[in-house]
């Protein structure tokens, strides 16, 4: 009987939250389809996809996202592993450090980067590829809270210390432990961190705008200054990318859980 009782309070807030989220999104989507008078169609999307600047921004952002994820993973996995193994007391400190990008606005970060690296001895803003180094460094910092937490949760789900000791007693070096035991068991956590970082980088505006790089974020803003329907289409495309990332995450985590549905036989 209890299971069938409807919790009206929960239902009310659930519906309110859905409306709050979906109504503006639906409004944007609907608006993006009304470029041609009196007709619902994908004209705005066609124009966006036909614009070479969109593809340039898309390619650039994807490239930067992949590099960011690669460096973040290779930096955070060994660091968090080391922290768990050797300095577990440093965890609260890491918690504070990794939450800083939420507290310090991106604008402060980008001005800091520009002021520090636009003058000797490390003048990185002179060439596009050196500016890209700066932008990747910025992206790593912005995505740090997500990546750290994802890896941290993954590490918490396994007995890092005992697994490491078990592998060492079988002759493994540190590198082999990380490669054969720790990383394979953190696959899902790393994937989660990577996909959220990907979504963050793909929609990032401030860093790319101030460092004058052709990323997707600044392109969307520039479109918004002169066009009406295309920015709405771009917003929907951007949302779709994020959802696609989250969907992938959900798919892999469900698959991993599904694998564990076996009967234990004595």
């Amino acid at each position: 009987m209890n299971g069938k009782r409807v919790n009206f309070f929960a239902l009310f807030w659930g519906v309110a939250a859905l409306l709050y989220f979906f109504v503006p999104l639906y409004g944007t989507f609907d608006f993006s389809l009304r470029m041609e008078r009196g007709v619902l169609g994908f004209k705005a999307y066609e124009l966006v996809f036909a614009d070479p600047r969109f593809w340039q921004g898309f390619r650039y952002s994807i490239t930067m996202a992949v590099i960011t994820i690669g460096i973040s993973v290779s930096m955070f996995v060994p660091t968090v592993y080391w922290m768990y193994l050797k300095v577990p007391k440093a965890r609260p400190v890491m918690d504070v450090i990794t939450i800083l990008p939420f507290i310090i606005p991106s604008i402060v970060l980008v001005f800091g980067l520009i002021r520090t690296f636009s003058r000797p001895p490390l003048q990185l803003t002179l060439r596009p590829w050196t500016t890209d180094i700066l932008i990747v460094a910025g992206y790593i910092i912005i995505s740090m809270p997500y990546m750290f937490r994802a890896v941290d949760v993954g590490m918490r789900s396994i007995d890092v210390r005992t697994l490491t000791e078990a592998a060492q007693s079988l002759g493994s070096s540190w590198f082999e432990v990380l490669k054969d035991i720790i990383i394979p068991n953190l696959r899902l956590a790393i994937l989660g961190g990577a996909l959220i970082s990907f979504a963050t980088v793909m929609g990032e505006l401030i860093l790319a705008d101030f460092l004058v790089r052709p990323a997707l974020g600044p392109y969307m803003v520039q479109m918004g200054l002169t066009k009406a329907y295309e920015p709405a289409a771009l917003a929907i495309i951007s949302y779709s990318l994020t959802w696609f990332s989250l969907g992938l995450l959900q798919f892999f985590s469900n698959r991993s859980e599904g694998q564990k549905q076996y009967v234990i036989e004595e």
């Binding site: 697994l163 078990a166 060492q168 079988l170 002759g171 068991n185 694998q259 234990i264």
Partner: protein, 353 residues
């Protein structure tokens, strides 16, 4: 032949001393248990043998080679953990073969060894299963096979049965001993369970507060505890403080009741206070003709413990427990009855501090 030798090992964490002046030699193929309560330093000592902890002083030698500061992955020591520590991303056979893969053995050799190990633990059918598809007992069997697959010089087991239920624990205990004897591998076993230590070991090292209290065979440890701690920790025990009457004759006075011991009073003088201990099972109801330590008592309580009946008796002012087998023919007294109990002179143990 001495296989493993620990000499004057000391380990401290800040001002806390975990292990102090720990020395032991273990023979090839011997099964030695470190027994003691939580925090007595038994696991720390084992971890120093494995290389996961470094001693502050002292040496650890295996086959006369100094291992003290050798990293754990270069010691060729197999370790089984309380929490199994199977690699979740690997199947049973991959787990068992992992050490051999790391040692860069050829695939046919690895496969043959894995099959051999799975046959040893009777788990051939489970080769392709993942750890989460196995019960606790099965996981610990695989962990044992994994540790043995690399043909280690020495096998270390850190409370391997603690996380298992009673029935599986008993089965696996016998399995561990069978495999150890079959392979003749030198084994160090850490446990706080006296029954495990007594049933498995060739020798037991009883530890307390980081120090060795006694090293001996299970028979010696149980029947002739050297210290009050060992006597209390290994098996249940009755203790009482008595006054020495005649050290040569082994007579003592327990609140006006005369008690005799066969040995242990050397160096004691008349009037000295000593602590005596008597195991509950060494008491029996006195029959006619018994002359050693015949004591008047009153029955205070009777408790059935399955195969054993525990009778609480009062001798003078002191309360003692007496254990007797639960036979169908057993005629038990009633609570409040007066009776006579006896124990041999040998059963009266004189304890040092």
């Amino acid at each position: 032949m001495t296989h493993l030798e620990l000499t004057h090992i000391k380990k401290s964490y800040g001002s806390t001393v975990a292990v102090e002046d720990f020395s032991i030699t273990v023979e090839q193929g011997e099964f030695v248990s470190f027994l003691g309560p939580s925090g007595c330093g038994k696991t720390t000592t084992l971890r120093m043998v494995a290389g996961f902890e470094l001693p502050n002083s002292g040496t650890i030698k295996l086959n006369s080679n100094d291992l003290t500061f050798i990293p754990p992955n270069q010691r060729n020591v197999g370790m089984v953990f309380q929490s199994y520590a199977l690699f979740p991303n690997m199947t049973v056979s991959q787990n068992v073969g992992y050490g051999l893969k790391i040692a860069k053995k050829k695939k046919p050799e690895i496969n043959a060894r894995v099959e051999e190990m799975l046959a040893l633990i009777h788990m051939e059918r489970f080769a392709t299963r993942f750890p989460y598809q196995l019960s606790g007992g099965q996981q610990q069997r695989v962990a044992l096979a994994r540790a043995l697959a690399i043909q280690p010089e020495i096998l270390l087991l850190d409370e391997p049965l603690s996380a298992l239920d009673a029935k599986i624990r008993l089965e696996l205990r016998q399995e561990i001993r069978r495999i150890q004897q079959k392979l003749g591998i030198t084994t160090i076993y850490v446990t706080h369970d006296q029954e495990e230590a007594l049933s498995l070991s060739d020798r037991i090292v009883v530890m307390s507060h980081g120090k060795i209290e006694q090293i001996g065979t299970p028979f010696e440890t149980y029947n002739f505890p050297k210290t009050r701690f060992v006597a209390n920790f290994v098996g249940s025990l009755n203790t009482a403080e008595v006054e020495v009457v005649n050290p040569k004759q082994g007579t003592m006075n327990m609140n006006g009741i005369l008690l005799e011991a066969s040995e242990g009073l050397d160096g004691k003088s008349k009037g000295d206070n000593v602590m005596v201990a008597i195991r509950p099972e060494r008491f029996s109801f006195a029959s006619e003709g018994k002359k050693e330590n015949v004591l008047d008592c009153q029955i205070e309580n009777i408790t059935f413990l399955g195969s054993v009946v525990r009778i609480q008796i009062r001798i003078g002012n002191a309360k003692f427990n007496m254990d007797t087998f639960n036979r169908p023919s057993l005629e038990l007294p009633k609570i409040g009855d007066r009776a006579q109990v006896t124990c041999s002179r040998k059963a009266v143990l004189i304890l040092s501090d």
